[in-house]
């Protein structure tokens, strides 16, 4: 494009890092959260909460810390990822604080702030310590072993609300399944990256379907079946659905075999039908989904799903305003599984759309990093992590809005839940790292002055 001289590098070679954009967006995200926090206090007590400055300073410090880590260790990273995560986390804190006002004996916001701090700390740690994502490829089998261990451990702990997915030690409780999904994504990416040619081009043809050889496919299917089986045993249908979707998407992207999608959907359908029909805990949720108002007709008052639908409806187009809704009627899971209903009631369809678009941007940026990366492992990992977010948002949002049967899962960043917040911060850290690599100019490009789009290697 431009002639190069040794002493005067042309301006085109200074690739835009966009760290200033990130900082500006972060300030905006923190400001929106602080305003939301103030709005809750104004609506509820008529005064701005006294600790609004403290909340703003806390969130701002966390955002700044994360920004500094990115600025120095991942300067080319996508500038949208971090601000979106901060805004969603800030909004989640506002919603939890708002719901705390209705339940004075159960204060969740301070705990959530501690977990968020830990999440940001881990975020910074990942960004700083993980210089190259390809390192992770080496730990594929360690990852899958840890994932399975994490999934199996809760079996030995008592069930909470019908699902054996928690580990309780002392006053702390966390969901190992949350961490397991990152580890599993790493393993899937590594295994598929290493074996994708074998998966795509070997094996027998059966009818129109080309089956990969069992030797290649076997181990990964076994791992997958094992994790889903464990989750079904623990009655964590949401996460098993997530793992299922994650596996199918990654397999499809790696091999390009449309047949796998069909087989995946078929298996999912059969599995869902069998579990939904015979497992009582799930069966009741399917019944609830088919007729959310059955308990009202039976004279037992509205169930959680009906209350959630009432909350969304009360929001309408513009919402009742933060702090002015009655989503506490939803009951015990209002701060976790059903927090989106509070967003729907108090922010309305307009606010809910904004929240969905934030998630969509996060997912899109993950996919974009995947497209721009050159190594198959990085690509698959970026796609996998972005898909985890997309599937999780769909499964939980679809559940509380009556689109699909309800599965207990946490809305990324919004919902109360320590392991969830920490995990999501790690996912964003990995996406930051991947996008940094994807957007960083290659040495040879700098040398020749050619800024090429990622060259497609295989096809």
């Amino acid at each position: 494009m431009t002639a190069t001289t040794a002493d005067a590098p042309p301006p085109e070679l200074r690739l835009p890092k966009r760290r200033g954009v990130e900082l500006a967006l972060l300030v905006g995200g923190v400001l929106i959260s602080v305003l939301g926090y103030a709005a809750v206090g104004l609506a509820h007590d008529g005064v701005v909460p006294p600790d609004v400055a403290g909340y703003g300073a806390g969130l701002g410090t966390l955002a700044l810390l994360a920004h500094v880590a990115v600025r120095f260790r991942a300067p080319y990273a996508d500038p949208l990822l971090l601000p979106i995560a901060v805004l969603l986390n800030g909004l989640g804190l506002v919603l939890i604080y708002r719901l705390d006002l209705e339940t004075p004996r159960d204060q969740a916001a301070p705990t959530q702030l501690v977990w968020s701090t830990l999440g940001v700390a881990l975020f910074a740690a990942v960004v700083v310590l993980l210089r190259d994502h390809r390192v992770l490829q080496r730990y594929a089998y360690l990852s899958v072993a840890s994932a399975l261990a994490l999934l199996i451990v809760p079996i030995f702990f008592p069930a909470v609300n019908g699902a054996k997915i928690w580990i309780r030690i002392g006053g702390l409780s966390f969901q190992p399944g949350e961490f397991a999904k990152i580890l599993l994504a790493v393993f899937f990416a590594a295994y598929l990256a290493a074996n994708r040619n074998a998966l795509a081009y070997t094996g027998r043809t059966f009818w129109k379907l080309q089956l990969p050889s069992g030797r290649v496919l076997g181990p990964i299917v076994a791992i997958w079946l094992l994790s889903v089986g464990v989750l079904v045993l623990e009655r964590d249908l949401g996460t098993s659905l997530l793992f299922f979707g994650l596996f199918v998407i990654m397999l499809y992207v790696a091999t390009g075999r449309t047949g796998w999608i069909a087989v995946g959907l078929l298996l999912a359908g059969v599995g869902a039908f069998v579990v939904g029909s015979f497992e009582p805990h799930v069966h009741s949720r399917v019944q609830d989904w088919l007729d959310p108002f059955a308990s009202i007709d039976a004279g037992q008052g509205p169930g959680q799903l009906a209350q959630s639908l009432f909350a969304f409806a009360a929001g309408g187009m513009l919402g009742t305003g933060l702090g002015a809704g009655h989503s506490i009627l939803i009951g015990f899971a209002a701060k976790s599984d059903f927090i989106l209903a509070t967003a729907g009631e108090e922010l309305g369809l307009s606010g809910l759309t904004a929240v969905f678009l934030l998630y969509a941007l996060l997912v899109a940026r993950g996919y974009r990093a995947g497209l721009a990366l050159r190594d198959p492992f990085g690509r698959l990992l970026a796609i996998g992590l972005a898909s985890i977010l997309a599937l999780q948002v769909f499964v939980i949002a679809g559940g509380v809005m009556g689109l699909i049967p309800l599965t207990g899962m946490a809305m990324p960043f919004l919902a109360q839940g320590g392991s969830s917040v920490v995990t999501n911060w790690i996912i964003v850290a990995l996406l930051i790292r991947l996008s940094d690599v994807a957007r960083r100019p290659h040495p040879e490009q700098v040398e020749t002055g050619v800024i090429a789009a990622a060259v497609e290697e295989d096809r």
Binding site: G256, G301, A313, M317, L349, L352, A360, Y367, L371, V393
Partner: protein
């Protein structure tokens, strides 16, 4: 690989679109239906999250609101609850509302569009205004006099301003305290169960919701019909009535409690309350004329609202002559609410012009600006003015020289009519004591008040029960209170 990544991205986009479409479905298209679901507590919570407007007697509220700190924030309180319960009704978070609390609920709860600064304001903002106040026509002194007069006996009092139709007193005893039904919880459900199970029916509004055989007080209606139909042209001339009187088409004789009823004039028949003369006159007027006059006074009207609905007072329109004869002295199937009989007295006092009764004088916003004013009620004319003048004279005669002496007030023109109504199978029940009356101050061109009193005292000795004995003193107390103002 690029192509498959793009397809996977398209799948994610599809999921997002599904979520957005579904959100729009719930929040826009199905929102009204979900909002209106009876199991949705939001409407109830919104309803009780501000203090309810007050019901006023004179300038003073007889209701209030207290904050409970519960999900349904504000609960109704009542000053002198039992005294005003037949006026206010109750406003309960558990059992809903009755009477004025019910009829003016939109004003009191702040949803009425008249309270809003602009038309359709409430509908647009989906909000509500601060609760408005409802000012009643009740006069505290008269209400208290009526309540004290009944002194816990079963009965009712209704008092009207004849020239406007304003209800000045509306009492039913025994009463109850509506505050005990205000909130939620077991105290409220227990109180509800006890009140409903009580044999004395304390929650029955006897003044407007219970009908009684009006007995001899109905003779005023019969007399009006006879004079208007010219069955009697001279109230002081003897009528052609034997005593006892044989009911037409039967061999049953109708006796008199009073003496001197043989061939008595209409005026004498009213003064001493002759059954025979009035039964005979009713038959002479005929079913059609009797029914027309009775309906002119408000009988058989199912649509009377004050603004709460008033029970229908009955005068049969399909009877044989012997039944008509009994109906003409307020027996057989003839029944009336106390309010209905107050309307009869009021029409006579007001020169034959009956003003429809009303209980709400005006409605104001929370700031006291009047947004609706009730003038005099629409009028109807059950009898000619000359008939009314003759009846006034006869009713005054009842108080001065007849059965209603207990209602006399010194220096005041008082007209009245007693009644002792028998009821039950073969008249086995204890009779009801009735008194209807009106009073006009000497320096006034128009009557101040019309009153109807009924006492159904199950505990009393049967002989003591008579309109003149039990009911007239209560009416006098109420009229005195009216004249003092």
């Amino acid at each position: 690989m690029i192509r498959y990544i793009r397809r996977a991205a398209a799948l994610c986009l599809l999921l997002l679109v599904a979520l957005l479409v579904n959100a729009a479905r719930i929040q826009v298209f199905e929102a009204d239906e979900l909002d209106g679901n009876p199991a949705n507590r939001r409407n109830t919570i919104a309803r009780y999250d501000q203090p309810r407007g007050n019901i006023l007697v004179g300038d003073r509220p007889v209701t209030g609101s207290k904050e409970t700190g519960e999900q349904l924030s504000f609960e109704r309180t009542y000053l002198h609850g039992p005294l005003y319960a037949p006026v206010t009704g109750y406003a309960s978070q558990t059992y809903g509302t009755t009477l004025i609390e019910n009829a003016e609920d939109a004003v009191l709860s702040g949803t009425a569009s008249v309270l809003a600064p602009l038309p359709f304001w409430n509908e647009f903002t989906r909000g509500r205004q601060p609760g408005g106040d409802v000012v009643t026509t009740i006069r505290a002194s008269m209400q208290q006099a009526a309540y004290d007069g009944l002194s816990g006996r079963r009965g009712a009092v209704a008092a009207l301003d004849p020239s406007t139709g304003a209800i000045l007193a509306l009492v039913s005893t025994p009463s109850y305290d509506p505050e005990r039904l205000s909130g939620t919880g077991s105290a409220v459900t227990d109180a509800w169960a006890r009140l409903n199970a009580a044999e004395s029916l304390p929650m029955l509004n006897r003044a407007i919701r219970q009908t009684y055989p009006p007995g001899s007080t109905f003779k005023i209606v019969t007399a009006a019909a006879a004079l208007d139909a010219r069955a009697v042209t001279d109230a002081d001339a003897p009528t052609d009535t034997p005593s006892p009187y044989v009911l037409p088409g039967t061999s049953t004789t109708l006796p008199n409690e009073a003496r001197g009823c043989e061939q008595a004039s209409l005026a004498d028949a009213i003064r001493v309350s002759c059954n025979t003369v009035m039964a005979h006159l009713g038959v002479e007027v005929g079913l059609e004329g009797m029914a027309e006059t009775a309906e002119g006074f408000g009988f058989n009207d199912t649509g009377l609202r004050i603004p709460s609905g008033v029970a229908r007072s009955n005068f049969d329109t399909d009877m044989s002559d012997d039944q008509l004869a009994l109906s003409s002295i307020g027996q057989f199937n003839t029944t009336a609410t106390p309010l209905q009989m107050a309307m009869v007295a009021s029409a006579v006092a007001n020169g034959g012009d009956l003003r429809r009764p009303h209980l709400v004088d005006r409605v104001t916003t929370n700031d006291g600006d009047t947004v609706r004013q009730q003038g005099s009620g629409p009028s109807q004319r059950p009898m000619s003015p000359s008939t009314a003048v003759q009846l006034q004279r006869m009713m005054v005669d009842v108080v001065e020289n007849g059965t209603g002496a207990n209602a006399a007030i010194d220096g005041v023109r008082v007209g009245g009519k007693t009644g002792t109504a028998q009821h039950g199978v073969d008249n086995s029940g204890l009779p009801y004591a009735w008194f209807i009356s009106w009073a006009q101050a000497p320096d006034s061109g128009r009557p101040a008040v019309a009153v109807a009193v009924v006492v159904e005292d199950a505990a009393a000795d049967r002989d003591d029960i008579s309109g003149g004995g039990s009911a007239a003193p209560i009416a006098r107390a109420v009229m005195e209170a009216a004249l003092e103002e």
